[in-house]
Amino acid sequence: MKPRDRKALVSGLLTVFAAWTLIRGVPAAVRAVSALRGKTVGQVETLARVEDVLMRAPAAHDSLAVTFHAIVALAPDLVQGEGPADAQASLSALISMAAGRHSLKLIRVDPLPDSAVGPFQRVSLRAELEGDVGGVTSLLSTLESGEPILTVSALSLDTPDPLGHPRTSEALHLSVDVAGLYLPRAK
């Protein structure tokens, strides 16, 4: 091979190598460096967030302790029960006990559908009772201001005999939809 041929061959090879570098090598290198940069930036940002979380951890633990105490203090506000059936039974017992305490006759209790309220479940039922004005008033007072936290979502009060008998107290028919909150057992 003559020196001139060798020079041409080397030049050709160098040209091919340079072209390959420009067309394939440089874009691939740019992509790789860009990917590495993206990963690094992401990792550094994650580290910064973790450091921030760790720095605030003592304060979070303190707040958590306070919050736990406040949650424990909520126990009387909730209807007892860890499931729908338990809660319905507890709420029925509460209504029944309140009716008995205020001289009301509990005619029937029908469960209503549950629904979720934040971390709690709402338990509801419809109760029909009969009694006098004092009993109805006391029952409503107990339901709306006592413990646990109950709410009367609907109410129907009527009197079968509006004039009544002068010597007997009037008879009222009360239908109430009562709802309360219970904390379901974590699954």
Binding site: L36, V50, A57, L64, L74, L140, S153
Partner: protein
């Protein structure tokens, strides 16, 4: 020796043979008193042949040296000695160009080049002194012909927009055009002798009478220098890229290591934060439930207090959407409507359906009414 526009040193030496030239150049460089590294050579008029073609042939500027070289036999006298030629297009006016060419005997130029190389001097330019000589003169504005007396002959330089484009020698003595620049005042009356060297020092000529071998060597040297600069630039880029990638890798590795180290504590802290968020949501829900507890007993109390004793309530309904319905008997239904409208917390109070007149046992005839209202609180 010229620094900027200041003449620092001047020397003069003569030679008999071309073989003496190297020694003469070296001696002059040595006598300068300061290290001399670069040199420009101005060839006096008796050593150079100059020619001018006006108007210039239609040529591109880069083709002019080759044209002059090809036409050397027609343009210059050879006298049996090989010539080194050079040429350039010079603008005479805004519209006219001249071809300005020069030639010198090659042995003389080679002797100068060799002398400079042996003395360690880098030869920057070698051209006729006529081309740069006007730089040593202070000329009146608009001067187109510069007369320079030189012994028994006078050289007349034609100066155009682009510089000197013609040199003519004529016998006889004519006075100098203009005056020598102040830098030549310290030449002890030798201004005319030093002016060509001084002018070459302050102005780079367009023509180049460097021999072909020297030009080729200079081109190779320039290419090599350019290649080295490019290689150095490429190397710097590679170094910068490597450094950048290295820094990224180190940062990534360090961040990953720290994240692994913090994993346990971070998981615990995040769990605590999740528990805290859940706990706060629990408290918020209970607070909301407490705030939105029903107040139907208060509503019933307000309603019964607002109605007069002559009104008999048969039924009260409070729906889940806040609708309140009161049914009963009263002497006048409109009075009931007005009374219900005054109960706090009730709005949109209207009679529902037609009011009928009914006979109530023991009371007499009364209106049977149904009032519908909207409770502000469920």
């Amino acid at each position: 020796m010229v620094e900027g526009h200041a003449l620092r040193w001047a020397g003069r030496a003569t030679y008999e043979e071309l073989s003496d030239l190297a020694e003469v150049i070296a001696r002059l460089a040595g006598e300068a008193g300061r290290p001399v590294k670069r040199v420009r050579v101005a060839l006096s008029r008796d050593l150079v042949q100059t020619r001018t073609l006006l108007p210039a042939p239609r040529l591109r500027a880069r083709d002019v040296p080759a044209y002059v070289s090809l036409e050397a036999g027609r343009l210059f006298r050879k006298n049996g000695v090989p010539l080194v030629t050079s040429g350039a297009l010079v603008a005479v006016s805004k519209t006219e160009r001249a071809l300005w060419a020069a030639a010198t005997a090659e042995p003389l130029l080679k002797a100068i080049v060799d002398g400079c190389a042996q003395a360690g001097l880098r030869l920057e330019a070698m051209a006729p002194a006529a081309e740069t000589l006007p730089a040593a003169l202070e000329l009146p504005a608009g001067t187109s012909d510069v007369v320079i007396p030189n012994g028994s002959v006078t050289e007349t330089l034609s100066v155009g927009v682009g510089g000197v484009w013609r040199s003519r020698l004529s016998p006889g003595f004519l006075p100098l055009t203009g005056t020598w620049v102040p830098a030549l005042d310290e030449a002890n009356g030798q201004s005319a002798v030093l002016a060509p060297a001084y002018a070459a020092g302050i102005r780079l000529p367009v023509l180049s009478l460097l021999p072909d071998g020297h030009r080729a060597a200079r081109r190779r040297s320039n290419r090599r220098r350019l290649g080295m600069i490019a290689a150095a630039g490429g190397l710097l880029w590679v170094l910068a890229l490597t450094s950048y990638v290295g820094r990224l890798s180190v940062t990534y590795s360090r961040a990953t290591t720290l994240l692994h180290a913090f994993r346990g504590a971070a998981d615990s802290a995040l769990q605590a934060r999740r528990n805290l968020d859940d706990g706060r949501a629990t408290l918020t829900t209970i607070a909301w439930a407490r705030a939105n507890r029903s107040r139907h007993l208060a509503l019933l109390g307000a309603l019964t207090r607002g109605l007069s004793d002559s009104v008999t309530i048969l039924a009260i309904q409070v729906e889940a959407d806040g609708a309140v319905r009161v049914t009963g008997h009263a002497p006048r239904a409109t009075q009931v409507l007005a009374a219900v409208g005054r109960v706090p917390g009730l709005t949109s109070v209207v009679l529902n359906g037609a009011v009928t007149r009914e006979a109530v046992p023991g009371v007499g005839e009364q209106d049977r009414f149904t009032v519908v209202a909207k409770a502000g609180h469920p």
